[in-house]
């Protein structure tokens, strides 16, 4: 991919290992921290262009929200019976993207998968920013967002409490817990790396700021021991948390009696879909980042290979869910369930159902080929397709189920308006502004964990050499 015109040395890709050979504790620390530690005025032009573009999208988002608050949700295309449109589609889509970060940082930590090491920090950042984007939608879709504190159980003069038996109230607790725990987990993971930046930075301002943020971390053995206990506990807590969050979101639908929503398979089906889409987003973000910052030695082709396999596996679960929906429409003998599938196949929004099948079921099948898995442009395209496909999945679940319910007299259609689109596209501005700030000021790879990996691998090599000598 490197053109011969460039003066850079050609990149040698590593296929069989999680680290390019010949790295030391010092080299990986320097490599990752140098991406962050340089004067603000010398920020690369590419970053500034990206930041301005993301900032413009953020302005569009703020404009859309300002209009929404002043005019009301009538600016969107929603109405009865399609009372949930882009707001909830995008909410579920964004939060699904977030789940891959927690999966990589927590579940793979519990399973001691070393391949999480180079990608967990960026994936966790993606989680937090995606949860921020997601969390805004349910807050703004209420019609009177300035009264959103009514969601919270507090002793009010109204003398009333939220309905704790409602999945929508469960959502409040699930999302706020998820956001809080993700931020805490991320920050705890950052502390040793912020200390590294404190000790390596030459600017007094950077030293002070990283010094304050690193809380005075000094790598004491006692602290490391407590730190590892805390990390393991947080991973153990985050694992059921991430499963519970998307399960609870699926209850928003599954507890309702609408055909297409009222199914018990929703929790695992939603969680698999979240993993699917989230890994696709990690790949979409990582392919350009590793090229721009020359991180081929730390994020190797093996990482992409493993992530593609996770994507393929979760994609097959999602596909199973699609077939399951067709099966129980027939098996239930319910005319409403049956009509739901007929409507998906041939109704006015059939194009969206077939797009979903194309993007989520057919295109990702190329991942069976090892050669194509390791072809980054192909992988990038497939991951983008999955992101689009998962968006269509939420569209199909929400809009297609709502627009045809039990009585034909209450049927209607839904067309997104300009503000539906601007609120969606604008939310990318929020995401990318935060993400660009993150890669500029915070190490995007967990330095101490990569050091640990280097230490483990070099220790093994040294042992082999020693035993080799002893044998000779």
């Amino acid at each position: 991919m490197q053109s011969s015109k460039q003066l850079k040395p050609p990149v040698t890709e590593t296929y069989d290992s999680l680290l390019a050979p010949g790295q030391s504790l010092n080299s990986v620390t320097t490599k990752i921290s140098d991406i962050v530690l340089f004067p603000v005025l010398k920020t690369p032009v590419g970053w500034i262009i990206g930041f301005v573009a993301a900032g413009l999208l953020l302005m569009l988002y703020l404009y859309s929200l300002a209009t929404l608050f002043t005019v009301g949700i009538g600016i969107w295309g929603i109405n009865i019976p399609v009372a949930w449109g882009f707001d909830i589609i995008n909410f579920v889509w964004w939060i699904g993207i977030g789940h891959a970060g927690t999966l990589i940082s927590a579940i793979l930590l519990l399973f001691r998968q070393d391949w999480r090491t180079s990608i967990n920090r960026a994936a966790e950042a993606m989680t937090i920013f995606a949860v921020a984007c997601a969390g805004i939608y349910p807050l703004i879709h209420t019609g009177r967002p300035w009264l959103d504190y009514w969601f919270l159980p507090y002793p009010s003069t109204l003398g009333m409490w939220p309905q704790f038996r409602s999945p929508l109230e469960w959502d409040v607790f699930a999302i706020s817990t998820y956001a809080t725990v993700s931020v805490l987990f991320w920050f705890v993971g950052l502390v040793p790396d912020l200390a590294t930046l404190r000790d390596r930075s030459t600017s007094p301002i950077a030293k002070t700021l990283y010094g304050l943020a690193s809380l005075g971390w000094r790598g004491a053995a006692k602290h490391w021991q407590r730190y590892e206990v805390a990390s393991l506990l947080l991973a153990g807590l985050s694992t059921p948390l991430v499963l519970s969050v998307h399960s609870i979101i699926s209850f928003d639908f599954a507890v309702a009696q609408l055909p297409g929503w009222h199914v018990t398979v929703f929790p695992p089906y939603f969680v698999a879909g979240a993993v699917y889409c989230g890994f696709a987003m990690v790949i979409v973000l990582m392919i350009p980042i590793r090229k721009w910052f020359g991180l081929q030695g730390l994020i190797t082709m093996k990482h992409f290979d493993v992530m593609s396999k996770v994507m393929l596996a979760s994609g097959m679960i999602v596909t199973y869910g699609y077939f399951g929906e067709i099966f129980y429409a027939w098996y239930s003998s319910s005319i409403y369930e049956y009509y739901l599938i007929v409507n998906r196949f041939t109704g006015p929004y059939a194009w969206s159902y077939w797009s979903l099948i194309l993007f989520n079921v057919l295109i990702p099948q190329v991942l069976w080929s090892k050669k194509l898995r390791q072809n980054l442009p192909v992988l990038f395209f497939v991951s983008m397709a999955i992101n689009v496909g998962m968006w269509f999945e939420r569209w199909v679940i929400i809009v297609l189920s709502l627009h045809r319910d039990f009585l034909p007299s209450s049927w209607a259609s839904y067309t997104p308006t300009f503000y539906d689109w601007s609120t969606y596209i604008g939310s990318f501005g929020l995401f990318f502004v935060l993400f660009l700030l993150f890669i500029r000021f915070i190490p995007m790879i967990a330095i101490f964990e990569v050091r640990d990996l280097v230490h483990k691998t070099t220790a093994h090599t040294a042992d082999h050499e020693e035993s080799g000598h002893a044998g000779a």
Partner: protein, 187 residues
């Protein structure tokens, strides 16, 4: 505070301890075990990566953090469950189609989220509490070359508060254990 002591403090800050640098973790563990067996008690190691077995080599006790987290989890789950029960049975009971007020299965999701939230808060703030964070300044930062402790330096420190502390003796022991640099440093 007399004038004499304050002047003395200004002239010569007290020595905090002696810091030895090692090239790798196995030499550090070996040195820590040696010091522990020799009876030193105020010893701490500083490493750029978590070194397994180092806390045992130094003689640190296992952490009590898991108990704190358990307490947090129990508080969060039982507190929220009790609260929802009180709201639905006592404070604002609502008869919806004759369904029971104490519909506990519907309280489980929030009970679970409360467990996770309070456990995680206990884990993180408990960790900070146990480590004494935030503490931006610490005497060990004065040790020469200590900035490498967050990159690739493996350090071992004997503090002056140790009853066995004797700079010359400590220096010879640490050099004998393979330390590449041994320096006394002040507070």
């Amino acid at each position: 505070m007399s004038k004499a002591t304050s002047t003395a403090a200004m002239q010569a800050p007290a020595t905090y301890g002696i810091m030895a640098e090692f090239t790798d973790s196995s030499a550090l563990i070996h040195a820590a075990e040696h010091l522990r067996d020799a009876g030193y008690t105020k010893v701490e190691a500083y490493t750029p990566i978590p070194v397994h077995g180092l806390d045992v080599a130094i003689g640190h006790k296992p952490s009590r953090l898991p108990w704190l987290v358990l307490a947090g989890g129990l508080t969060g789950s039982s507190g929220l469950f009790a609260f929802m029960t009180w709201v639905n049975l006592v404070d604002y009971p609502m008869n919806i189609g004759g369904r029971p007020h104490f519909s506990w299965p519907a309280f489980i999701p929030i009970t679970f989220e409360g467990m996770v939230l309070f456990s995680a808060l206990a884990a993180v703030f408990g960790l900070f509490l146990i480590c004494g964070f935030p503490r931006p300044y610490h005497p060990v930062f004065n040790a020469p070359g200590f900035e490498r402790a967050t990159t690739d330096g493996f350090f071992l420190c004997i503090e002056t508060s140790d009853p066995l502390y004797d700079a010359a003796k400590a220096k010879s022991i640490l050099t004998g254990l393979g330390a590449t640099a041994v320096n006394e440093f002040s507070e």
